[in-house]
């Protein structure tokens, strides 16, 4: 019996908490999950923008009805109209104060994909809920090279405390593998590129003596074995941290095990090769969207998140004539100038998103449709109006046609229902069955 088998046989699976429901059935059934009726990959992505939206400019100019008439903020989406729906009346009530007092930005961020209430803590007992992308990722595990990708443009973080006594983990992570383990996002476009397409020349040279695949496997065997032994010696509380280590390592082990199934793709033509984190935020944002598009195009993953900026971001936009900070501006009630500036910032974010969508619309997928046609992309934030810090009627755009299952070109109201209802309807389309509820969901959103 080989040592690898021995480790498996020794019941590693029993020691690692069952974070994932990955099993042979899902892997084999990969043909019907995250796949369109025409057999193309179906992607699910979430893009977050901070501090709510300047309401008057955000929502379409007509009443919720069939025809979509874009308001000022969404002008960049005009030519993509048939691919998008604007949905009003979606709420994240677990982001409201409740008994937790202030901290709307931290909660907005933490609740957005989880639909759960974040435990108010500056450190101990961090707890929110599994995020919808991770629910999808764990179910789809094995159908693509990466179960999911997490991206963020917050390469430099504010030091000191975060929002009103909430740990910064809530604000800088959108995606939660479990209720207690955030998925750290990648902020460096170069590193992301290397994950997608292998090491670039410069890194390759430094790695002239890399380990072979089998050496890597035996290294993983060792650390898993070691961690498993160590786990027995630890106090209960410490085991949680080691469990994160174990489950993350097993993830990688599986990925390496499937390497032959998912060869590293060639870099698509005309792709930029990023060097690192650009100095200008706008450039950084563009590059991260480019990387996301590449990942979707090459089917590296079917589940992704991009946090453009953590909620509460006080970034100034001097290049578009806004010297004030974003968060600061959102708190100027009824002052026309501030309103306009917040609208301009919303537009700035949306322009980047529109550019990304256009790119996806121009890429032809395996079934002849565009990648955008075969995607479901939620664009939005966890705060409605930045001035009010409300968490109902969130600014939400659903882009992509879900392989023909989403009906774009519309503005409609969900009434007043949990955002998680929308998530469930998307998860259904991903071919993930038997999820009855998620977060605070009360049903499905059938109108999409």
């Amino acid at each position: 019996m080989k040592r690898r088998d021995l480790i498996r046989g020794a019941g590693l699976g029993l020691c690692v908490p069952l974070f994932e429901t990955w099993n042979a059935k899902t892997a084999h059934g990969a043909a019907n999950v995250a796949t369109t009726a025409t057999g193309a990959p179906l992607r699910l992505a979430f893009v977050y923008f901070p501090n709510g939206a300047q309401q008057a400019n955000w929502f379409p100019t007509n009443q919720p009805a069939e025809e979509l008439q874009l308001g000022p903020t969404m002008q960049p989406l005009e030519e993509l109209k048939k691919h998008i729906q604007v949905i009003s009346g979606l709420d994240q009530l677990n982001a409201t104060a409740g008994n937790d007092g202030p901290g709307d930005h931290a909660r907005a961020n933490a609740t957005f994909l989880t639909g759960a209430r974040a435990t108010k803590t500056a450190g101990a007992d961090i707890h929110v809920g599994q995020s919808i992308d991770q629910l999808a990722a764990t179910r789809l595990h094995g159908s693509t090279r990466f179960s999911s990708l997490e991206l963020s443009c917050d390469a430099v973080r504010k030091s000191g405390g975060c929002d009103s006594g909430y740990s910064c983990a809530y604000q800088y992570n959108l995606s939660w593998r479990t209720a207690t383990q955030p998925m750290a996002p990648e902020t460096n476009p170069r590193a992301l590129f290397e994950r997608l397409f292998g090491l670039t020349d410069s890194s390759q040279t430094a790695m002239a003596n890399r380990l072979s695949a089998s050496e890597r496997m035996s290294l993983l065997d060792y650390v898993l074995e070691d961690a498993n032994d160590l786990r027995k010696e630890l106090a209960v509380n410490d085991r949680r941290k080691l469990d994160e280590y174990l489950s993350s390592t097993r993830d990688i082990e599986r990925r390496i095990g499937q390497a032959s199934k998912f060869p590293i793709p060639d870099v698509p033509k005309d792709s930029v090769l990023p060097i690192g984190v650009p100095e200008k935020y706008a450039d950084h944002l563009s590059l991260m969207f480019d990387m996301l598009a590449l990942a979707m195009q090459t089917d590296a993953t079917r589940v992704a998140t991009l946090l453009m900026a953590a909620d509460g971001s006080n970034r100034a936009f001097p290049d578009i004539g806004i010297p004030e900070g974003h968060h600061y501006l959102t708190h100027h009630q009824n002052e026309t100038e501030s309103h306009e500036k917040v609208g301009k910032i919303d537009l700035f974010y949306l322009e980047h998103f529109a550019r990304f969508l256009k790119r996806l619309a121009d890429i032809s997928d395996t079934d002849g449709n565009s990648v955008l046609h075969n995607s479901m992309i939620v664009y939005g934030g966890g705060i409605g109006d930045g001035n009010k810090h409300n968490h109902d009627n969130l600014p939400i755009i659903l882009a992509g046609n879900g392989g023909g299952t989403l009906h774009g070109g519309r503005y409609h109201s969900a009434g007043s229902v949990p955002m998680t209802n929308l998530y469930l309807s998307l998860i259904d389309r991903m071919g993930i069955d038997s999820i009855e509820s998620f977060g605070d969901s009360t049903g499905r959103l059938d109108s999409i």
């Binding site: 961090i126 890399r210 010696e233 941290k241 010297p323």
Partner: protein, 850 residues
Amino acid sequence: MNGDGIIALRGVSFILASHLQLRLPVNRAMWPRRIPFGACFAMFCLTAFSIHAADDDSSLISTQAARQILTQYCFDCHADGSSEGQFAIDELLAESDSEEVRRRWWKVLKNVRAEMMPPKSVEKMQPAVREQLLHWMQRSTLHLDQNNPDPGQVTLRRLNRTEYRNTIRDLMGIEFASEVEFPPDDTGHGFDTVADAMSVSPLLMEKYLLAAEQIVMEAVPLQHRVPQRVVVAGKAMTAAQGKQSAASNSFYSPIDVSAKFTVEHAAEYDLELDWEVDGSFDFDPGRCRVTLQLDGQDLWTQELAWSADKRSTDRFLRALPAGEHQIRFQLEPLVDKSKKSADIRFEIHEFRVTGPTDKSLWTMPVGYDRFFARSEPPLAQLEREQYAREVLEKFATRAFRRPVDLPTLDRVTLIAVDGFTRRGQSFERGIARAMAAILASPRFLFRIEEAAAYETLPDFPLIDEFALASRISYFLWSTMPDERLIALARSGRLRQELPAEVARMLADDRFRETSQNFVGQWLQTRDVETISIDPLEATASREEYDQLREQLKLHFGDDRSQYDRNDHPSEIQRLLERYRELRNLRGILDGNLRRDLRRETEALFYYIASQDRSLLELINARYSFLNQGLAKYYGLESLEGEQLRYVELPDSSPRGGVLTQGSFLIVTSNPTRTSPVKRGLFILDNLLGTPAPPPPAAVPELEQAAAAFSGRQPTLRELLELHRQDAMCASCHDRFDPLGLALENFNALGMWRSEEAGLPVDAKGELITGEAFSNLSELKQILASERRADFYTCFTEKLMTYALGRGPEYHDEIAIEQTVKDLEASGGRFSIAVLGVIQSPAFQRMRAKQ
């Protein structure tokens, strides 16, 4: 109270083993949730006595006495149906003991200690009474037991990015850019050392694995003997004069360049030329002859024609005498420049000399002896395996910061043996692979702690000395313990030599970086490098600037040269000069200045810490660390040079202490104006340790109130005064507004101003605790005298949070109180705070593993 009742913490860890404490069991489950008044009182007496029966603590007042104090000072607002701030102390008194109840008492204790309660408007509490009450709360409500102190829960800590980078540097001898390669660490309680906030995501794990491989392959020599290798880059081949080099040359320009290199032995060497023809996409008729000569003899010559891209390496074996040699490169064009249609160039990337080819002349590679004790591995298999074990035991002990257990050593040895036997790799390559496994192991990435074997307190044992060595080292150096700390731990002498070791570590250069990590996060100094701020808006000169630009444009038209001249009519000249002034202001906060502002605060802190001066100088120093740029920025007498240095501040200068430093003043401002609220809150949070309660939802914004000033731009002081007319707003704003407004003489850029919105700045105010001041310097005086204990407490808590990797807890109270007393007695010396943290039960002990 004289403090005798509390065992001095100094050395407490060493004597505790001999203390046996009699504890009476109290069946808390039997307590009703609500109990009648009298019963409650009796119960409290009982609890107090039962727990402290063995204490000879004459200064502890009875619960009856405590109740009298509380009745006199607190009940008016917080009892008998009154519950200001949603708090009723009579209800709290009636609660039976629980963690949650203790946390509520802890809040009361902190408010009483900081003299926030009772408020100054109510009867003044005598210091002696306050002391009695505080002591009673510690003992009888928080149930702190100094003879069996709860160290709290420190979750398993992984190395953060900084610690990882430094540990790799010390362990492997190479620099690894973890801040580029790893995602940022999540923080908690304001620090990136807080264990609970740091997780291991699949992304990070992937990066850990890749890094382990990359680091080992870069740092560990894979052979025990290597040939000498000289690399002459193309750009290093130059002509005696001019800028020509062999790096890249057109086929149409002749060139003759050379370089020298040296070989050690008279022997045969392997020579390689790595070259490339780099042509434009379109054909070009250019041709040339290239020649490489070694010591005057042709080595290589070729006639080349257009090729879009052709790279090649040519090799030669040559016997060379020992000593210096010359390599010469010539390019001779064969087609006239006039024929050139596109572009074609010849490039030499490198000329490499490797050798001698005779292996017996090879030498030990650089860094070999860092990892390998012998100059070469033994040949016999058994000896080889035994030696591999020795090498890996030494390495793993260093990497894990504690002795490696046998099963682990067996496993890593097996990895190495598998490499150099079954896979036919070199001995060193096998070892390197095992080392990569060690660097990816949780024992390296996490700080594994064990209890000391000789401990006698079963619930809260001392940590063993290896764990202690790591705790101190990561606290003071942000890196692994050095050989000396490990040696002391091994011989069990670290605890007894702790003060001397701490002194040694504070004097070491490694402490400098930690001091930056700490202060950079505590005072958010780091953020000054990235925060957005608009100098023109911040100085209310944007409009003027735009107008000037328009005016000058009208006058000069598109003739840019006019802007540089100084012979304009006086009216225009005046406008131009003001324009230049504002243009400079606009770009003033460049990268250099921001970096210097950060360094100034870091330098002040490091000076106080490394010279073991009083922490109060953080508030009231009459010196700072400046260079040319900073002195100019602060409007001080000019200095020369980039280097920051100690400068005594003139009496006339308002600067001195962190509150007057650009870093603090900028990071607490909005991008376009100062924020007295942010500044005030910052002082409460980070200097006084008395954070204000959070604001209620939907507070009207300041600017909204501007309507009341009928068109006139009000000052921030006026706006805040208006805001405070609402009693609810005032209850909190009274705490921080006066602090922030005292700093209004500094604009959002941290520059001095005497006016704001056209009115003279009024910096006077009064603290919530009653001390009045008329300007910032008096406020600083108050912070460093009357409110000194608050500052010491706050500082100790911050340092403790950073050191322990968890937030302060109520059971840390005794240690914090003792440290503050010691700081008082020592005049606030930094090392006292460090020792206070290091000798606290929280640092010395752990909760027994369950």
